[in-house]
């Protein structure tokens, strides 16, 4: 039989070796190496297309490709929020869901236009808490100037959800002359961070059951499209990469960038903005702040000659007052992030494998 000459393609096999992970682990959602493996081997494998392959915070679609006259570029992003606890110092799941997606669209270089929201509610969830969350979403959307234009609600049986899960999606337009993508990081580029890192992760940690500790620290959750807009308006395509280092923190975001651009990244530990309280909490818990989540910070990688101006522009925004130039892109050590430590030693800042766990002693 001639059909036998060519083996049929069998697409029903899960490409992630089952022997390794027969069930989903928490670390598959932790933003580190296991998350990356899940995305690349399962989701990208199944849905592969050029827009998805960028693996950015969102997709940028050329409207001309859809036969739309006039062209232009649309940024499109989605994010699901399963944070626990639902309410934490300085925010809640509602404000976080708005800021998160606004920022994902902004990191594509776009100005966000509209949001959608999907709610998964657990039977028995107090209506008053739901109203608090919804009000907080409205406030965040109003402040950001991005309307919430469509939505969906589902209710699941008691015990089958964690109170509320929220999904938000957002669209925005990428202005002409803007070209940001992780692959655009070039040797010589400077790396900026818009302010103190690790604040969101530590604020959440401070109210987790079993770990409560006293702190005045609040989440940094905020919408960053004003800040990125100011950068892009003036510096245009000299802004090469934008990224909000959410779960997995600055270290994971920079590792992804180094990997996709095939460049090295060199950081100065002493230059990285870090509030005293956050640093103290990290010391106590044995956490490296480079791996702790942020929800209102932006990493910008810009051409060397634009770095000082980019710093001024960031510092001119209330959300970027403590911005700093923290390192540069190099041709050496492609794919690696290397940090010069406070005492002058050097170490590789690798991708995290799972969640950071507080140490015994």
């Amino acid at each position: 039989m001639s059909d036998d000459q060519e083996a049929p393609t069998f697409t029903g096999t899960c490409p992630l070796p089952l022997a390794d992970y027969p069930t989903v682990q928490l670390a598959h959602g932790g933003g580190g190496r296991l998350s990356q493996m899940l995305i690349e081997k399962v989701f990208l494998e199944a849905f592969r297309n050029p827009a998805l392959e960028g693996l950015g915070d969102g997709a940028v679609l050329e409207l001309a490709a859809f036969g739309l006259e006039g062209g232009g570029r649309l940024a499109f992003s989605t994010d699901t929020f399963v944070v626990h606890p639902l309410f934490f110092p300085g925010g809640d799941i509602g404000s976080l869901a708005v800021h998160g997606t606004v920022n994902d669209v902004a990191m594509c270089g776009a100005q966000p236009l509209a949001l959608s929201a999907g709610f998964v509610l657990e039977e028995g969830f107090p209506m008053e808490q739901l109203w608090t969350i919804v009000s907080s979403m409205k406030r965040a959307a109003d402040e950001a100037g991005v309307p919430l234009v469509t939505g969906d609600t589902k209710v699941v049986d008691r015990g089958k959800g964690d109170g509320v899960y929220v999904n938000t999606s957002g669209i925005g337009l990428v202005p002409e002359g803007v070209d940001v993508a992780p692959t655009r990081a070039r040797p010589g580029d400077r790396i900026l961070i818009s302010g103190g890192i690790a604040e969101h992760g530590i604020a959440i940690m401070s109210v987790r059951e079993g770990l409560e500790f006293e702190t005045e620290l609040k989440t940094d959750s905020a919408a960053l499209h004003g800040l990125t807009g100011a950068l892009l308006d003036e510096l245009g395509d000299r802004v090469h990469v934008l990224r909000d280092p959410t779960r997995g923190g600055v270290a994971s975001a920079l590792n992804e960038i180094a990997g996709s651009a095939g460049v090295g990244i060199r950081l100065e530990e002493t230059a990285i903005p870090l509030e005293e309280q956050v640093r103290g909490a990290c010391e106590i818990l044995g956490f490296d702040p480079l791996y702790v989540a942020n929800e209102g910070k932006c990493i910008a990688i810009v051409a060397a000659e634009a770095a000082e101006r980019a710093l001024e522009l960031m510092r001119g925004d209330p959300l970027g007052e403590k911005a700093a130039i923290v390192g540069e892109v190099t041709a050496e050590d492609p794919g690696r992030v290397v940090l010069k430590s406070r005492i002058g030693g050097e170490r590789v800042v690798d991708m995290l494998s799972g969640e950071q766990l507080p140490r015994i002693c």
Binding site: Q25, E276, R279, R342, I360
Partner: protein, 365 residues
């Protein structure tokens, strides 16, 4: 940040490195006992700042790493029980037993919770009178007083739904075992400052005398480690043995006496098996007989579970300082933090994990 920045100054670090370079005339092998020290050393890049003559051997002081495999299997068996809330410090959750780890038991429906203090586990027991709350009490002398306090409080309140699964280990017997081994290479110790904060350092004096070596009680910040290395090397170059206290801001010769008293009330010394090293006489704590009711091994009858180590893992040689992590054939290939074969790859204090996370750069080049 106060009490941190003072011990991380770049200029002072360079001064210590220069002083060590002037001091050293021949090769020396030093061992830092504690995993926390190993971690700082590699994170700050200290091992690469020291002159070539100085070889740092990473000691067995990682509580997660030396907890025997069967004890982890026992923890997993207890954590799977529906009536149990199993509590543990964070870094124990990912340590593999023979087949799986506590995080995987959690993802299969086990009630496994991370706590920051054993007293939080006691609080959980108070708030959940219809559940059995078990705390995984591992660690050295440093964590033992807090664990003792948890049992003591539970006993005072007659909380019969609280118990601990314990595998406490003690540092001096392990140092004795390392020094007495025929293939020992260690010439000077940087002793674990936090262990000495609790226990003092008088126990080390006869050890230093017997083996004619210097033991320097050392802290955990980068400058502590450089200072500790300097003092150990100075003693070696001058041919001195004995105990020196570098970590005097925290450690006194007699240690923390109230903590020691509590330890005696709750625990008694016993023989302990160390993962990768084997059984060491009088090297651990178990609950005193009158508190045996709080022993989870007895309560859940898991004492008979035994386990076999992966034949590929050379954790024993690593923990005794005979090999470096990257000298293991499985390192970074079949053994990574995602799929660790042995405990030193799991804990952030483990030598293998520290090498993997911070040192790969050096290994590759």
């Amino acid at each position: 940040m106060k009490y941190v920045d003072e011990y991380r100054g770049s200029e002072e670090a360079q001064k210590f490195v220069a002083a060590i370079e002037r001091l050293v005339t021949r090769p020396w092998n030093l061992m830092e006992i504690c995993g926390g020290q190993t971690h700082t050393m590699i994170k700050a890049g200290i091992d690469r700042m020291l002159p070539d003559e100085v070889t740092m051997i990473h000691g067995p002081g990682c509580p997660v790493c030396v907890t025997p495999l069967e004890l982890i299997d026992r923890a997993l068996a207890i954590a799977r029980r529906p009536e149990v809330i199993f509590t543990s410090f964070g870094d124990m959750l990912r340590v593999p037993g023979s087949t799986t780890d506590l995080l995987a038991v959690k993802s299969q429906g086990g009630d496994v919770r991370m706590v920051y203090s054993p007293l939080d586990a006691v609080e959980l027991a108070r708030r959940n009178p219809d559940r059995q709350v078990v705390f995984f009490a591992v660690g050295f002398e440093t964590t033992a007083p807090a664990n003792a306090m948890a049992v003591w409080q539970a006993a005072q309140e007659k909380l019969d739904n609280f118990s601990i699964l314990t595998s406490h280990v003690l540092v001096p017997p392990a140092m004795e075992a390392i020094l007495s081994a025929p293939d020992n290479r260690v010439q000077g110790f940087m002793a674990a400052g936090h262990v000495c904060t609790v226990m003092g350092y008088w126990e080390y004096e006869p050890l230093a005398e017997r083996h004619q070596i210097p033991i320097v009680v050392t802290g955990f910040e980068p400058l502590d480690l450089l200072h500790g290395a300097y003092l150990t090397l100075e003693a070696l170059e001058e041919g001195r043995s004995g105990v020196v206290n570098q970590y005097s801001r925290s450690v006194e010769r007699e240690g923390n006496l109230p903590a020691q008293k509590l330890l005696k009330q709750v625990f008694e010394v016993c023989d302990r098996k160390w993962r990768g090293i084997g059984e060491i006489p009088d090297s651990g704590y178990k609950l005193r007989d009158e508190l045996a009711g709080y022993d989870a091994e007895l309560r859940f009858d898991v004492g008979e579970l035994v386990a076999q180590e992966s034949p590929d893992c050379i954790a024993g040689e690593i923990l005794r300082g005979l090999k470096k992590p990257h000298e293991c054939a499985a390192f970074g290939v079949r053994c990574t933090p995602e799929k660790p074969l042995g405990a030193p790859m799991v804990s952030s204090e483990g030598a293998c994990a520290a090498y993997y996370q911070y040192g790969r750069h050096k290994v590759a080049s």
